[in-house]
Structures are given as structure tokens and as C-alpha cells.
Symmetry: C2
Subunit: 199 residues, 2 copies
């Protein structure tokens, strides 16, 4: 029996967070109530704003609350390099592990006909158009080294060649069957630096 | 570099949760944005309501958004039994592990003069008054089996005797130097059932 319906409600709501079970949710709720209400309120605001206002960048499809994300809107990134990733979490891993200074394109998935994910859903017409504009010289294909990720990489390489763009793939070093976001920084940085031309 | 200031803000805010570091916070934020915005908004509401509206029950000092918590306000709990705990998380552990049907009193701490925690801060005058009202027959002292918890138990036993109330302490079985909330349910239930009269 809980002494407070609002507390029971908070504990239940915290379980929407990945990796948080009943026991952790309870500890989180008690911790915030006893020691950190100010930051609890800040988290409430941050959540509401993020859930309501964050959409997708019109150019790279990464998360952004503006029509263009800060990476696409800035002038400091090399526009001749374009790195394609499956998800924003992969983009974050590359940003944190490597010194990459080019731009990105986020698929939000991988080619998977059975799940209804085709070229249209992944924004590939938009990517093809961008490759055709002539600014991009190298397309760095950083899809995950899984079966579907490899098939997607193959498709992307054809798209690049059709646009006169050099397709490259991350070097060996990324373990087969793994997910980029779980690769340690050193390995990812090495694989990124040693990316190879797709023949 | 983050593509979205609101996203960076959310990741930072999630780190107020105990046990959540930078990497987990990032995974939580991406998960909510990609798959669970509805529940993310519900969590924002639950957090705001809890942080702003939950105070302390006027009778047992446990968390409550009403003047009396649901345990104190209800008529189903035995008013002759009163269990004293250091914190709401201990109360929750006892509720979940035992079949206890009495009432509670929450100290929100333990006697610790060096930290400025004396009888006043722990609500002991209020507890003494309640013990003097004649309704309570047994005071179950469930402070943690630490040095300060034992000293607090000793003080509470004297308070009980002064009010003509029988003080009991949880049976051996709770490991010395441990914290109640980390004790497994079976041990806690056993210790609770076998509580002993303090001589
Ligand atoms: Zn962008
Ligand atoms: Zn109460």
C-alpha cells in the first residue's frame, strides 16, 4: 500500500525509462522527493519540452527542434563529407568517439521490407537528391554490420555511385553482428579513421 | 556536438536520477524520443505533480499530498501497533515484505547530533504525544541496525516506556551494519515476525 497516490503514479511513470524496474523506480522517486525536488522539476520541464518540440532536421533527419539542426545550420562542418547512420544514437557515438568534421544523414532504420521499411521510409530519395547536387564527394556508410545493415550499405553504395560520389565503409574493427552504439570508443575511432573505398 | 539544444538539456536533466550516468541518460532520451513520447509526457506530468504537491502526512510524516496519508486516513489498519522507521523507503520495504497491518511513524533520519539531527528534527515530541494518548500498545522500532540507528532505538525505547507502551525491536536476522532497504524480503519478513521486547 502506498501512502500517496501521486507517489505511486510517479513510480509507475518512471518505468517508461529503459532499464528501470520497479525497485529502481522507487529509489528514484524517493531520492528526488527527499533530496532533489528542484532538479526533479527541471527534469519535468526538460521532458515536456523535448517530447513536444523536438522533430527532425529537414536536411539530415536527425533530432532537432529547429527546421535545421545545429550541425546542418552551422558553417564549420565539411560539406564534402556525408556520413549515413541508422539512428541518432549511432551519430552520437561517432561524434563522441571520432574527430569527424563532416555532415550526417540519419536513416531512422535500415532497409527491411518485412517491416515495411523501404527506400522511401528511410528518406533515400532525399539523400539521392543531395548526392546529385555535386557538393558531397564522399559518402561514409556507417550502417550497423548486421545482415540488414550490410544490405542497406550495398544499396547506399549504388546510390552514391549513381550520383558520382565515392562510397566508403567503416574499416574492419567493428565486430560483425554488433551494434555501433555498444562498440568501445577506441575501436570505433580506429574503424572510422580506416574506412575503406567500396569497390 | 548535439544536434539539438533541447535534447542536450534533457540528457543532462536525466542525470539527476540516482544511478544514471551520461551514457544511460542518452539512451533514455533517445528511447523516449524515438518510441515513447506519450509516456515521456506522462512522466513529465507525474514528476511535476509529485515534486510540487507531495508533502508529509501530519500524523506519520510519510509522503502524502493530503493532510493525512492513505494509511493514516484509512480505518483498516491496527492503531495499537506503531512502527517507527528512519525513512519512507524503509516503510515501503516493510509494506512489501511483511503482512504488517499497523501504523507507522517516519523519522526522516536518525539521531545524529553532529549533523544537527536531534529529537526535534525527527518529530519525537509529536511521537511522544501520540504514545501518551493511550491508543498505541506496542512500538515496533525498525531503525537501521547501524550505530546511530541503535542509539536512536535506545532513545525511542525510553520514550515508549515513559508513555506506558511496550517497545520491540526487529529480531536478529537483519545483518549488522546493513541498511533495511537492501535486506531481502524473506529475511526482513522473518526479522519482523520475530521482533523482540526491549528490556
Ligand atoms: Zn541536420
Ligand atoms: Zn500518515
Amino acid at each position: 500500500m502506498s501512502s500517496s497516490p501521486l507517489l505511486a503514479n510517479l513510480i509507475e511513470a518512471l518505468r517508461c525509462l529503459p532499464g528501470v524496474g520497479g525497485k529502481s523506480a522507487q529509489r528514484m522517486a524517493f531520492h528526488l522527493l527527499e533530496r532533489d525536488r528542484e532538479r526533479g522539476l527541471k527534469l519535468a520541464d526538460a521532458l515536456r519540452e523535448a517530447m513536444q518540440r523536438i522533430g527532425h532536421c529537414g536536411r539530415c533527419r536527425n533530432f532537432s527542434e529547429e527546421p535545421l539542426c545545429t550541425i546542418c545550420a552551422g558553417s564549420s562542418r565539411d560539406r564534402q563529407l556525408l556520413c549515413v547512420v541508422e539512428s541518432p544514437v549511432d551519430l552520437a557515438a561517432i561524434e563522441q568517439a571520432t574527430g569527424y568534421r563532416g555532415q550526417y544523414f540519419v536513416l531512422h532504420g535500415r532497409l527491411s521490407p518485412l517491416d515495411g521499411l523501404g527506400p522511401e521510409e528511410l528518406g533515400l530519395p532525399q539523400l539521392a537528391q543531395r548526392l546529385g547536387e555535386g557538393e558531397v564527394e564522399e559518402l561514409i556508410i556507417a550502417t550497423n554490420p548486421t545482415v540488414e545493415g550490410e544490405a542497406t550499405a550495398h544499396y547506399l553504395a549504388q546510390l552514391a555511385r549513381a550520383g558520382g560520389v565515392r562510397p566508403t565503409r567503416l574499416a574492419h574493427g567493428v565486430p560483425l553482428g554488433g551494434e555501433l552504439e555498444f562498440v568501445d570508443r577506441g575501436t570505433l575511432a580506429h574503424a572510422f579513421g580506416g574506412r575503406q573505398l567500396l569497390e
